[in-house]
Symmetry: C2
Subunit: 139 residues, 2 copies
Amino acid sequence: MGKVIEPRFEAAAGQLRAAGLRTTRQRLMLAEILFSQGHRHVTAESLFTEAAERGARLSLATVYNCLHQFTAVGLLRMVTVDAGRAYFDTNLSPHHHFYYERSGELRDIPEAEIAVARLPAAPEGAKIARVDVILRLQD
Amino acid sequence: MGKVIEPRFEAAAGQLRAAGLRTTRQRLMLAEILFSQGHRHVTAESLFTEAAERGARLSLATVYNCLHQFTAVGLLRMVTVDAGRAYFDTNLSPHHHFYYERSGELRDIPEAEIAVARLPAAPEGAKIARVDVILRLQD
DNA sequence: CGCAGATTTTAGAATGATTCTAACATAGCT
DNA sequence: AGCTATGTTAGAATCATTCTAAAATCTGCG
Ligand SMILES: [Mn+2]
Ligand SMILES: [Mn+2]
Ligand SMILES: [Zn+2]
Ligand SMILES: [Zn+2]
């Protein structure tokens, strides 16, 4: 007997199944938080806090596990803007970022708003996996 | 009586004084390693190891202190490519980076080799402090 | 249903980078 | 040389993240 899935978790359940991940209570909650309200940028800690505020019972270790699993199956991508903590981004299309150094807030810049032209060739034996453009903001 | 400075540290001493920093034994050694052989990308740990190999007697805490002081006075700049550790760059002119994700190696890309056109305006109340372009390499 | 085996979650310990503390040493000035 | 601000350091502390191993849950099958 498959367990009953609350209606508000149906979409999340579909995404998890499509990605080949089992639908656990914790993953459903995190997926719902992440994917049901437009693009998000979260850290493990911010997501854990948000889940806790919604009454979820899960551990920080599970949040880390899920963030990495979601990233591995292509539901998230990692963004590195600060040595010290990792951000995870639900926006999978190519785009760039404003980073507010003071607050730690990340904002998307649509790909079309920045033209990166004439990329150099990748060095011998390597290939360019990703092009990140970060506009660091002060004040 | 000012202490005697070995000839090989003369250049480093000049840079430190120009930057308003006292010339201590530890700073002279680190400045010599950093600034006497072309541009470098170091981490605290790599610089500490390199200094130790040259026979320097200093602590890792001092390496951290110096990296931050050198950055504060504009002798270095910090580069963020990996959540987990900070890189410091002796190349102060505007330029971009190849980052070998597997080895952690950083390589400069001269500014002229990448054209970043049509930057969006900074959001209300903020200004763009820096534009970082990272080409992440795999394989 | 009711299990069994595989997967997932979790508390708490461990790790790794970095920062802090507060005592000791040195640089720079008189 | 002596004074005082500044710099160095060992070791503890902090913070994000990962690991461990045991308990809980999921899923397919009888
Ligand atoms: Mn930071
Ligand atoms: Mn890393
Ligand atoms: Zn984004
Ligand atoms: Zn560089």
